[in-house]
Symmetry: C2
Amino acid sequence: MLKRENVSLSVIRRLPRYHRFLADLMRTGTTRISSKELSRRMGLTASQIRQDLNCFGGFGQQGYGYNVEQLHREIGLILGLDKQYPAILVGAGNIGRAIALNFDFSQMGFDLIGIFDIDPSIIGMQIGSLKVEDAAGIDAFCREHHPRVAVLTVPRSAAEQMAEQLIHLGVSGFWNFSHYDFSVKYPGVLVENVHLSDSLMTLCYMVRDLSEKETRDN
Amino acid sequence: MLKRENVSLSVIRRLPRYHRFLADLMRTGTTRISSKELSRRMGLTASQIRQDLNCFGGFGQQGYGYNVEQLHREIGLILGLDKQYPAILVGAGNIGRAIALNFDFSQMGFDLIGIFDIDPSIIGMQIGSLKVEDAAGIDAFCREHHPRVAVLTVPRSAAEQMAEQLIHLGVSGFWNFSHYDFSVKYPGVLVENVHLSDSLMTLCYMVRDLSEKETRDN
């Protein structure tokens, strides 16, 4: 496998995007692409792309461009998408259920093995191939199945305690949809935050800013 | 209102986070906080916080810390959360429905005025106070109600054409959950991307990277 020490987070964050664009190219039957053409489509510079890929040893031959399918596969391997890390989802409300139903975790490196909630009206509900289990059983479940990762889709009020409990049970990575930033308290734990309301508020700022500019310019 | 020209996107992205932490402080009855204590809780430096807030004219008095409620309100105004920009949601599948149900758009600067889908089994469905409308009627709806923003929760295959259609209809901001990066093609349009699968793949990379380090160290 390829050398990849101290790759910066910004490079890592671009890898899924390369993976996605390459999948698009495969769907449209493109078998080979130059870094120049790929950069044009992705809104990056060709040298940026070459630099990013060089972090992992580089791909493609000078003047021949990249083999789309091969690069897609290699980036998938770098991301670890061929793995099946056991994962649980905690909080089967609207967002939790949508995530469980919409994502093929097995295509993204994970095996979703359990879904938990505390709400009696949700416990027992069938979501895809899994039934929602009572969150009271999380301890026993984790001791038996050792999930590596948890998708946290609980409300803010429950997030702090649940994160702490799961960390003590050996969960070392979180896909965190809750409004609680526990990465501050647990710097050693891997946390990928999806703060949807932060994102919507950022859009609001941009819209407001543009509106004010338009008003000034008229 | 405050001076705020050329504020960097990284500062803007931190504003919703300040807003969230301040709301937490209000909930626990804290009325005043030093930049030092706020920075400790947020995992930033005190000087970073002062610099960020100075972009908007600064708040708080030297030595007295910040008035929590006032700062929360001011940041809300800077973000434009008091506005009610008309917004529509296109694509009422699992994710779209969860977003429509879970977010109080009116608290985040937007007024959700329409939800659209093409699926006959979804059209007519009640989601909160709105009924899902036939996407065939989007043109007429936009000409009448002039939505400023669209939440795009359609599949990749529909995203490109729908984004183009909405841009031509005057929509100038997108909360984009689709896998299509149309900001490359339309650089003037405001796009806040939520690429959930990119985020999950990034977590996979981090988990894999940690696992390999653990294996090497043992």
